[in-house]
Amino acid sequence: MSSRMTESVGPGSPDETVEQAPVPAPRVAVLITSIPGADLGPALAAVRRQVYEPADVVVVASDGEVPDGVAAAETLEDAITGSDGSIDYLWILHSDARPRPDALNALVAEVGRNDASLGGSKLLIAGTGDQLESVGSATDVFGEPYSGLDEGEVDLQQYDVVREVAFVSSVSMLIRRDLARGLRRLDRRLEPVAAGLDFSQRVRLAGGRVIVVPSSEVYHQGRCLHHGGGWREEAGRIRAMLKAYRPLTLAWMVPFALLTAIADGLGNLLLGRWQVGARHGAAWVWNLLLLPSTIAERLRLSSMRQVGDEELFRFQASGSIVLRQLASELSDRFLSIFDDDRVLATGTRRLWASKGIIGAILALAVGVAGLRSMFFAGIPQTGFTFPFAPATESLGRFFGGWNDAGLGSSAAVHPMVGATGALSALLFGSETAARVLLTVGAVVAAIVGTGRLGGRLGLSGHGRYLGGLVLLAGPGTGLLIGRGSWAAMVAAGILPWALRSIIDHPGDGRDRLVKAAWAAFYVAVLTAFLPVAALIIVAFIVGARLLGIDRVSVVLGLAGLSGAVVGLAFLVGDPGFMLDGGRRLGLDPSPLWAVGIGASSLAAVVLPNWERRIAVVGSVLSLGLLAALRAPVGGPGFEEATLLGASMGAALVVAAGLNVLRWEPRRAVSALFAAAFVVVSAGVVLNGRVGLPEGNLNERLGFARSLEEVPGRMLLVSEDATDLPGSARPGPGFFFRVVDGTGITLDDVWLAPPRLGDGGLATALEGVATGSELRPGAVLAEYAINWVVILGGETAFEEVLRTQIDLVPTPLDPEIRVFENELSVGVAVTESGSPWIQDGLGYRGEAEDGVLWLGVNADRRWGPGWEQAEWANSVSAAEGLATFGGNETARAYAIAAAALPLLALGLAAWRRTR
């Protein structure tokens, strides 16, 4: 340290006095401001050790506790005004500062030499060796200080040059006494940094120069920083700016400062820090309360002002420092998702050396390229992929409202209806934005999540991200998504995160409760899109534990399984979704996948221990679930879960197989199979719709909306169930389902179990299908069917419609055959024949005496004045509104389903805050 000491220029320095004229050395009075908690004795001792002997030492202590023999003043202003007229400089020093013996000497010398009015010392953090606290600072226009120092940066004399700065800290500053008297004092309402800024700005506006003198080193205990809290510093800086700027500057600075505070608050909220917003609020409120005092200070300063605001701007950084820091932190957080090493955050030089980053970029590039058609043509509307209903409607249906799919039911809707409704609501009711966000997000989340899952399992190579492509389009998911299951795509995005959440990682610093909360949250969200997700979780836990991956926690798994409550209402309402093998979609992956994964399992024997275990767990998970798919029990929900789980397992095989990309004979076979899986999956993803089928059924069926004000109900028929939207019912020689002519939405996708009307319609269709019914239109009109649409290839049903007299063939589309039923009066019609329209969850129309025939499955909860009308309902038309009272059981389940992830999130946030 001694080698770095600045040469003494004080009275004790013979060199300075030999050749110079006998100019008397400037007289300095030291004003030590007492800081609560800081011991005055060592401060006074440090002052006494100064090689430049001060002329006077005064302790500023409002509580009056001053050692004997030392002059005291109650306020800094008293001390300044009471200082002797022979004093040239005042050295204002905090009592928690420990200046080196030559600190004052250096200050006096450099301030004099540079003809400055105010000089500040270089502050080093006491007790850390040589960590820098401040070497003068710049600010932005809002007064936010910017030291330019990195956290923990060590003093290597890299800043040791005397220069003008925006401000110096009030911890140790030397000021001309005459100027100090003119400026009167430090603003005692301000915290140290803000006070320094305020004083420095006033000095500059009064025509003085503000410099930092790095050769004046002061160790700072920082006790003053603990006093008053961060919001007081911010409030002080705002006050400093309000005092210093001219009105014109304030006119734009204040609104911008407010907006910046709001943006910073919201941004920090994303990072889980609510306190920042509160701090901003408190700072502005504090300034509002002290506005009269601030105005008085402005008036006082105006008499001394020598220069304009431009002089302040010279030392300010452009833009907003807080927003820049926020953006930097957000991008750090984002980039750290891809790389646990935070390599992107610490510098691009190490970017390409980072393990896994190339795999991530490659996989994401394929994923984004896989979305390309959707950017131009929109997300397909076919299969099980349809736009969301309005948020209020979706949420209403989820919370026990009427399930409008087909001829309607009180059975609970698929939980994804609630999840998408909630997201739409969060996005201010924009269903389109929510749909796009979920679709794009699912692709990214699947890739990143698989990478993170691999990372949590101990893999660090490229394969873990490339495995994400296999998760998206592997043996099962490729088929599901190819069948149009958008929910499977979203579930693929969530699944790896859910599995990751049940892996206990001691090094992540979270307590067990937070981990359990996250596990419950992820599984709950996963279950919303994959109601039988619990099957995969259980299979993963069992497989991993049996095959030696003990990180997979049974306890966390059980906590995660509590998230399965989200799917309960739906599964209780439609047990066949989980159990009825006769309702499956009949998706069966190519046996080549099983052969490849089985061979990979065998090839993994020669892999290093940890990679081998992961590959084997992946193989067994995938093949075990594919084997389970051979069981005759298990409905479409079971089918979804097994297929998605099979892809997840294959993704783990890829992650392990491509974990290290270098030529090693023992890795070759595994890598070869893994690469093949990736190539095949990438081919599926790259269809432009991430494997989703092409088509816009809503557009194709849009003729009903074009032709009729109340488009009515459509009966869709095809010999191939894949031509129909969502789930279908089997008819004699064909599949059929009923949709609303206003358009198919996501809540229409899954049909509830058949009820009275569904049975009647099936029977009616059997009659029509025999060809013996000359007037099928009259038969179908009883079910309010306005249109019969034949999709796909020619059907026997279509053949019988050649010999009937009341369904009018309407050539609207070359690829579909449309028959209009002019006998149907609509879904809701009054006795006088006035049609009512669907309005949210109910029906609305002109009020009239008599009853409304409501062509949905009979349910006594419809009202007012419900009566059963064969398979349908009859309600009073007097109020102009027909509403469904709600399914209380489904509502209770839904509340539990909604509460669980929120509670889990809340618990995690609470524990984090603590």
Partner: protein, 427 residues
């Protein structure tokens, strides 16, 4: 050991997945046997001194409905009662004041025969109303010589439009009739053509009607100035039967629906013997052969036509009172519903001609429908033909213990009516 447990499990599972059969997905239910609707399509004429009535003869009582449709619209529809005997009827003039129109008749049971009987001061005609038409049908036996008028009517009784091509052949070969190709027959409409004006002086005309979209029922109405007759197209087949009434002039017309040459053979069942291969020969593509049966005049006879390709067969009979043409039937049956038989009027005599085409004796019951309850049982030897006079009514039921072929005819001073009734399904 644990090192190998997982991989071995993986291999075993993979083997299971490859070997075990997949579970198929949801499948549609088995399709039902196709049955046509209980519909009969009739061609009716009102005006010019002629009026039509619809006659129903069935096995079930209930309400039937007759709907008149013209130019895409059902202009009138009316229910009428089918009594307990299975008979019922309706005068078209009670339905709607239309000229030439098509009427769709829905019966309470699929087992019912429906006929139109059109009579005027000097004409009488009877024609079975066909059910759901076939996509391809053929109708022959027409002529435009000697000032005969001939109208072809294409009736589309269904909700979808039909696209039709009609190939016309005559003794001159294939006729060029561009007006009859690419025809659009709108839903619930009838399109008629004056063939006599279009193709005059043709001795033999055959119309092959092919619907490329939708379905149409084809009818011919021919008048020779003394009498008028109407008959409908049939779906081509290789076997045909006709039971011909005992009139002076009789002939059978065989019309080929094939684009290639085909051979035919005619067997005649007379009172004396069964003359197998009474005549045979070949017919050119879409050609027509007329076989004169004058040598059997005075007795009821039966005819069987066997061809090596699809043909249509119709019979032409002429008596003192007029002319009648009726299509043959493609197969014998154990029961026949002769709607309209016995309904022609008090000045007429209606009879049923029954032919036993089998090799065993059958007992035949002939019962009146819609008239006084009366049933007579007859015994028919193999290959024999029997004539049974009918009592007045809406029709007649011919019920046999074996397969027979039946037709009915009526002779009155106003004209001659002859028709092939509708077979009853077995059981």
């Amino acid at each position: 050991m644990r090192r190998y447990a997982g991989p071995v499990a993986g291999v075993l599972l993979a083997a299971f997945v490859v070997v075990a059969p997949p579970i198929s997905g949801m499948a549609p239910e088995a399709g039902h046997q196709r049955t046509d609707p209980s519909l009969a399509v009739c061609h009716t004429i009102e005006g010019a001194g002629r009026t039509s009535s619809i006659e129903v003869a069935g096995t079930a009582s209930g309400m039937a409905r007759a709907t008149v449709f013209v130019s895409g619209e059902a202009i009138a529809s009316r229910e009428f009662t089918i009594d307990r005997s299975g008979g019922g009827g309706l005068a078209v003039s009670d339905l709607a004041p239309v000229g030439v129109a098509a009427v769709a008749v829905e019966t309470p049971s699929a087992v019912a025969g429906v006929s139109v009987v059109t009579s005027g001061e000097s004409s009488l005609a009877a024609g079975t109303c066909g059910g759901v038409p076939a996509p391809m049908s053929i109708i022959g036996g027409a002529s435009t010589v000697s000032g005969n008028s001939l109208d072809l009517s294409l009736i589309n009784p269904f909700a979808g439009e039909a696209l039709v091509n009609v190939n016309v052949s005559s003794e001159s070969g294939l006729e060029g009739a561009p007006a009859l190709t690419g025809l659009v027959v709108p839903p619930l409409s009838t399109v008629s053509f004056d063939i006599a004006a279009m193709l005059p002086a043709r001795e033999r005309l055959t119309f092959a009607v092919e619907a490329t979209r939708g379905l149409v029922a084809s009818h011919l109405t021919m008048s020779n100035g003394e009498d008028a007759t109407a008959w409908s197209a049939v779906e081509p087949a290789e076997d045909w039967y006709l039971a011909l009434p005992p009139l002076a002039a009789r002939s059978v017309v065989i019309s080929s629906a094939s684009a290639a040459d085909l051979s035919y053979q005619i067997d005649v069942y007379s009172s004396e013997e069964v003359m197998e291969a009474f005549q045979g020969g070949s017919i050119g593509p879409r050609g027509e052969v007329t076989v004169d049966l004058a040598e059997f005049s005075g007795e009821a006879i039966g005819v069987r036509v066997i061809a090596t390709g699809p043909v249509g067969v119709s019979g032409t009979v002429m008596g003192e009172s007029g002319l009648a043409i009726a299509p043959g039937v493609p197969a014998p049956a154990t029961g026949w519903l002769a709607a309209g038989a016995g309904s022609v009027g008090d000045d007429s005599v209606s009879s049923v001609v029954i032919l036993n085409t089998g090799i065993e004796v059958v007992d035949v019951t002939v019962a009146s429908i819609g008239g006084p309850p009366q049933a007579t049982i007859y015994s028919l030897d193999p290959g024999s033909v029997r004539l049974v006079e009918l009592t007045p009514g809406r029709g007649a039921l011919v019920d046999a213990t074996g397969e027979v072929v039946a037709s009915w005819y009526a002779v009155s001073p106003r004209g001659l009516a002859w028709d092939s009734p509708r077979p009853m399904p077995d059981g």
